[in-house]
């Protein structure tokens, strides 16, 4: 397996193609960047996944959105949503040309997962998506649940008594996240004011539309986390028991963090994603058959 650096699309975005080893699928994987991290992903996650997927017969492309990592700032006036969608579609076109694939699985973490949903809704070539910590916005219900859980732990009271917890800071944090505000308003701490929590109804509409279309989704969460809370309270109630629920799978990691920094969790994530992606090849995503690559 020999990876190749490419420039592609209208804005000459920078990416790396990882060809499949041996029999290659007609399905390719595109990795979407997370936040301002460049394309190797948090903890080099995208590189490890690309190589494991290549060994399973799936070529991939990891790339940098314009203005991130190795890609120059983009041209044209577009919203964040429009730009990330267009550039991901450019990446799909580039991988199609490089590795002769015609259908895609997307992988995204955090803001990359949110973008993956938007691209999947817009482009029927997307047959599945791994959504790691999507919609990672803190809502009041999570804050109450989080502090409620902490109040009954011995460590919280120990830290409080030792001065390790600032009551003033904790109260300020609580008030900030509990403050009523219109849906869709960006969190003041967000790097990009453009990256914001969609309306819950819009999240449900997108996810149910994808499942109804036959798009498979693997949700991956650390627990507890705002993203996992949003799945449990917004998405799960609307897909449970439905005819399409089998297309949605969920993997949760306890004692973890937002980007899975524990080495054991990184290894488990790679195995889980490869297993899921293999299943998508067998589910007809590879209906055009396989081919040998050099």
């Amino acid at each position: 397996m020999k990876e190749r650096a490419i420039l592609f699309g209208r804005d000459a975005l920078s990416g790396v193609v990882t060809p499949a080893i041996g029999a290659a699928a007609a399905t390719g994987v595109v990795f979407l960047g997370a936040g301002i991290l460049h394309r190797v992903g948090p903890n080099r996650m995208h590189v490890a996944l690309a190589r494991a997927l290549a060994a399973a017969g799936l070529p991939s492309l990891r790339f940098d959105f314009s203005g991130i990592g190795e890609s120059d700032v983009g041209t044209g006036q577009m919203t964040y949503d429009e730009r990330t969608r267009r550039e991901t579609q450019d990446a799909m076109d580039a991988l199609a040309a490089a590795e002769r694939v015609d259908r895609f699985l997307l992988f995204g973490l955090c803001s990359g997962a949110d973008s993956a949903v938007r691209v999947a809704v817009a482009d029927p070539r997307v047959r599945g998506a791994v959504l790691v910590q999507p919609y990672s916005f803190t809502r009041p219900g999570y804050t109450l649940e989080h502090y409620g859980r902490r109040l009954v732990t011995r460590s919280f009271w120990t830290r409080l008594l030792r001065g390790g917890v600032s009551p003033r800071q904790t109260a300020a944090e609580l008030l900030r996240t509990l403050r009523p505000r219109p849906s869709g308003e960006a969190d003041a701490d967000d790097l990009s004011r453009s990256w914001r929590m969609p309306e819950p109804s819009a999240i449900v509409a997108a996810v149910t539309a994808l499942l109804a279309r036959g798009t498979d989704l693997l949700f991956v969460y650390s627990r507890p986390s705002p993203a996992e809370y949003n799945y449990r309270t917004i998405i799960r109630p609307r897909i449970e028991g439905g005819g399409t629920a089998g297309r949605a799978q969920v993997e949760t990691f306890t004692e973890s963090d937002h980007t899975f920094m524990r080495l054991a969790h990184q290894a488990r994530l790679v195995l889980r994603v490869v297993e899921w992606a293999r299943g998508r090849m067998q589910d007809g995503a590879n209906a055009m058959g396989t081919r040998r690559t050099a």
Partner: protein, 268 residues
């Protein structure tokens, strides 16, 4: 918007290819010195990627040929980090210098390294005669001190989540802020005191904020080897350091300007 003209590439031996980005000169002056940018390792590599790209662009705008690259087992390069150590990564710095010379036609090079990248630059330069200058930005001079620092950062992160630190795996590899450190690398860092045996370059600039542990002995050693050393004490932002927050990437433009101005005056 003007394109940067940066050219991504892979180079090196088959099966052990390294990813690099060549930045051709973007100024009328086309200097006969190439600048090799040596990044730090692990989490610090991720945190400083954006800044070091900007540094290379600064150098290219000043007329230098510049090359950034990822060590084997790191970034977009082939391999796993646990398969390599300080010796191999110092060889990678040398390979990158050769690649830049082949690609650009320059006859001499300068190394600009940050943190452990600066340490590797010194190690690599000791085996060459074409290194005009070294810009050492907060170099790791004292391995045990560096290890203690990154382990403390790791522990503070997990403590903030009220989660136990991950134990080493069966091979002795430990995760430090998301990146594996093999037992052999750990031991190599633990035994590291940067004491060059041969003159690594004609000139060197040390950039640091607070005084570095082992700095006086290191500078004395360089001077003893005939290196003209300049030390720049600047309010350095520790752009490489954080706990878990990734969506912050500081661009210390003043430090870049200091480094590139020094290169213009001393090695061009």
């Amino acid at each position: 918007m003007t394109r940067s003209a940066a050219a991504p590439c892979y180079f090196g031996a088959s099966g052990a290819e390294m990813f690099g980005v060549y930045h051709p000169p973007q100024a009328a002056a086309d200097r006969d010195v190439g600048v090799v940018v040596c990044p730090p390792m692990g989490r610090e590599y991720l945190k400083t990627h954006r800044a070091l790209r900007q540094l290379a662009l600064h150098a290219a705008r000043s007329g230098f040929h510049a090359l950034r690259f990822d060590y084997r087992g790191c970034g977009d390069s082939a391999g796993e980090p646990a398969s390599f150590g300080l010796r191999e990564w110092a060889q990678d710095v040398a390979s990158a210098a050769d690649e830049l010379k082949d690609r650009s036609g320059v006859g001499r090079v300068a190394f600009v390294g940050l943190r452990l990248g600066a340490t590797l630059a010194v190690l690599a330069a000791g085996g060459r005669r074409d290194v005009e200058g070294l810009v050492l930005w907060e170099p790791v001079l004292d391995g045990p001190g560096y290890l203690g620092e990154i382990v403390d950062r790791d522990r503070a992160f997990w403590r903030s989540l009220e989660v136990a630190v991950e134990p080493p795996d069966e091979s002795g590899t430990v995760g430090i802020i998301g990146f594996p450190v093999s037992r052999s690398l750990h031991d190599a860092l633990h035994g590291l005191t940067l004491t060059p045996a041969r003159r690594p370059a004609r000139r060197a600039l040390l950039i640091r904020g607070d005084e570095l542990r082992g700095e006086a002995a290191f500078l004395e050693r360089l001077r003893g080897l005939g290196v003209v050393v300049e030390s720049a004490v600047t309010p350095v932002d520790p752009i490489w350091a954080d706990g878990g927050e990734m969506n912050r990437a500081l661009i210390p433009a003043a430090t870049f300007q200091r480094a590139v101005s020094w290169l213009e005056a001393n090695v061009a």
